[in-house]
């Protein structure tokens, strides 16, 4: 409980920080009052149309990735599992890339997130068809890897055949993941899917706890593995699909956050779910602030920053694990 309080406080502080930090160089009190009171001036516009959606998306996407990562690790009983494993982010990215390549994204602003969502849905449908109705996790991993590989291959094919270097450039930059220049429309587009996904994932706690003892024991304790898996796949698809659709692929959050927080919740899979949601929100907020502060003039991509933070952190964890095992 104390951990949850501290994580919540951290998210609030970073959220406020994300709102008041920017190139305009306006004092925090002034920015916040412009956001809340709304004097109709340019500052209010900046706060409401640029910074607020950005901070909100950072919280939503971070929480989604953390929650989905904790759920995937709990289900597969593997600390190396991450939300992208079932092919959702790969197929969503492919959908988005198609929208950029065909020019649909330029013609109609929401074409990109909508095709990305469609891509996620198609990808996950294929995964479920391949994995079959049974409850084992191995078939799910294999199907997810197959679909991820296919989506990556198709994305490369589009890049390969792209005759327009600007489109190719845009695709590459989009795939790095970013929260820059997002509007409240993006927030409203992603939020319903994410709420559904959060609800689905939050109901998995009991089953994930039981799975600690293996599939056989969990089943004998009354856990319906087929239903658990369906809830997991649908939940991860909703949150990761919606997140990828509005911000591109942001890696390492779903992998690293549950890993860091696991010892702090006594390794309890159900307690890890919400702790990871808060931790993910904090990590994405912090990474987005860093992306804006380190190179303000160069539009550093969020996905690059999370990878730069995440990879060394992950290495550190592996080294720690190695020391403990000896």
């Amino acid at each position: 409980m104390r951990l949850m309080g501290m994580l919540s406080a951290l998210v609030v502080v970073l959220f406020l920080g994300s709102l008041v930090i920017g190139p305009a160089g306006i004092g925090p009190a002034e920015s916040l009052s412009a956001l809340i009171n709304g004097d109709g001036g340019p500052l209010t516009l900046v706060m409401r149309e640029i910074r607020l959606p950005r901070a909100l998306l950072a919280v939503m996407i971070g929480a989604s990735l953390g929650l989905a990562g904790a759920a995937m690790q709990g289900y597969l009983r593997n600390p190396l599992a991450e939300p992208g494993l079932i092919g959702v982010s790969g197929s969503a990215a492919f959908g988005a890339v198609l929208a950029i390549h065909t020019g649909a994204a330029a013609a109609f602003a929401l074409a990109l997130p909508l095709t990305a969502l469609l891509g996620a849905a198609v990808g996950v449908f294929v995964v479920m068809a391949l994995a079959g109705p049974g409850g084992t996790s191995l078939s799910l991993i294999l199907a997810g890897i197959a679909v991820s590989a296919l989506a990556a291959a198709l994305t490369s094919l589009v890049l390969n055949l792209s005759s327009n270097p600007f489109a190719a450039n845009e695709i590459v930059f989009w795939m790095m993941g970013s929260l820059a220049d997002r509007s409240m429309t993006h927030v409203w587009l992603a939020l319903p899917f994410m709420i559904v996904g959060w609800l689905l994932l939050s109901r998995l706690g009991r089953g994930l706890d039981a799975l600690t003892l293996g599939e056989d024991a969990a089943q004998a304790m009354g856990v319906r593995l087929g239903r658990l898996r369906l809830g997991l796949i649908s939940g991860v698809t909703c949150v990761v699909g919606a997140g990828t659709a509005v911000a591109g692929a942001i890696g390492f959050v779903g992998l690293v956050v549950p890993h860091i927080l696991r010892p702090l919740v006594g390794a309890h899979p159900s307690r890890l779910l919400w702790a990871s949601a808060l931790g993910g929100a904090a990590m994405v907020l912090a990474a987005d602030i860093a992306a804006r502060m380190i190179l303000p003039s160069r539009d550093l991509k969020l996905g690059v920053v999370t990878a730069l933070i995440g990879a060394p952190l992950f290495l550190h964890l592996i080294l720690k694990l190695r020391r403990e095992r000896i």
């Binding site: 009983r77 706690g205 009991r206 706890d209 039981a210 799975l211 600690t212 003892l213 293996g214 056989d216 024991a217 089943q219 004998a220 304790m221 009354g222 856990v223 319906r224 696991r262 010892p263 006594g266 390794a267 309890h268 899979p269 159900s270 307690r271």
Partner: protein, 252 residues
């Protein structure tokens, strides 16, 4: 009162007949040892009776709805799996999942069940240690305690005493016996025929895909059956210290 009724239970896995037409009934207060050589189908029999593998025939447990079955029978699989470094008492608390809507709010009754199981399996002093850092035998005791905490009328355990030291092997069998004293029953697969003969009230012998014998240890463990099913000779005697069984040699 019957706690488990199997009638004409048959299992075919990958076109191989693993079990054919197994029938038996377990009443209350029985400690039933399930014995048989490797591959005789002991694990499959227990999993099928719980409805964890497809089978034909009838099992009173498998026909219960999942949530109901979890309150009627606890299952300790052979694979000693604890995926995360949870503390010993948390692992034991997992046994209360059938009664809990969330692991975060256990009731007094749940705590009492966990305390009882910890004490029963001699785990109180290591309750806060991470279950993944224990030795294999200690982990087995944690998982037995977990199954006991489920407080079901029937407990099925697949080779629960494998890997335990002699004192804990005997203590575990006595713990199962203590459960039968309050009207519960256990179905336990065992390879140690000495323990089976000494502690079980009844033995079920499996061999060649079917039930070979079912009855009190002294009637089941005959020389002819041991030679035929296990391929061994053994010394079996009822002494002043209770029944003693010692395998002697392989039948050539």
């Amino acid at each position: 009162m019957s706690l488990l009724t199997l009638s004409k239970l048959s299992v075919t896995l990958q076109r191989r007949d693993v079990l054919r037409d197994v029938c038996f009934e377990i009443g209350s207060g029985e400690l039933v040892g399930l014995i048989g050589p490797n591959g005789a189908g002991k694990t499959t029999l227990m999993r099928a009776s719980l409805g964890l593998v497809p089978f034909s025939g009838q099992s009173s447990l498998a026909s219960l709805p999942e949530a109901e079955r979890a309150k009627h029978a606890a299952w300790m699989p052979q694979s000693r799996e604890v995926a995360w470094p949870l503390s010993v008492q948390t692992v034991v608390m997992l046994g209360r999942i059938p009664y809990l809507s969330s692991m975060l709010a256990p009731s007094e009754e749940d705590h009492a069940a966990v305390e009882g199981a910890l004490a029963q399996m001699d785990l109180v002093h290591m309750r806060d240690r991470a279950a993944t850092r224990l030795s294999g035998g200690e982990q087995a005791r944690v998982l037995i305690a977990r199954a006991m905490a489920q407080q079901t009328p029937l407990l099925l355990a697949d080779e629960p005493v494998a890997g335990l030291d002699p004192a804990h092997q005997i203590a575990t069998m006595q713990s199962f016996k203590a459960l039968t004293d309050v009207g519960k029953s256990c179905l336990v697969s065992l390879h140690d025929l000495g323990l089976a003969a000494r502690h079980c009230t009844r033995l079920i012998m499996l061999g060649k895909g079917g039930l070979v014998a079912d009855g009190p240890p002294s009637e089941v463990l005959t020389k002819a059956r041991l030679a035929e099913v296990f391929g061994i000779t053994a010394w079996y005697q009822t002494t002043d210290d209770g029944p003693v069984y010692q395998p002697l040699d392989v039948v050539k």
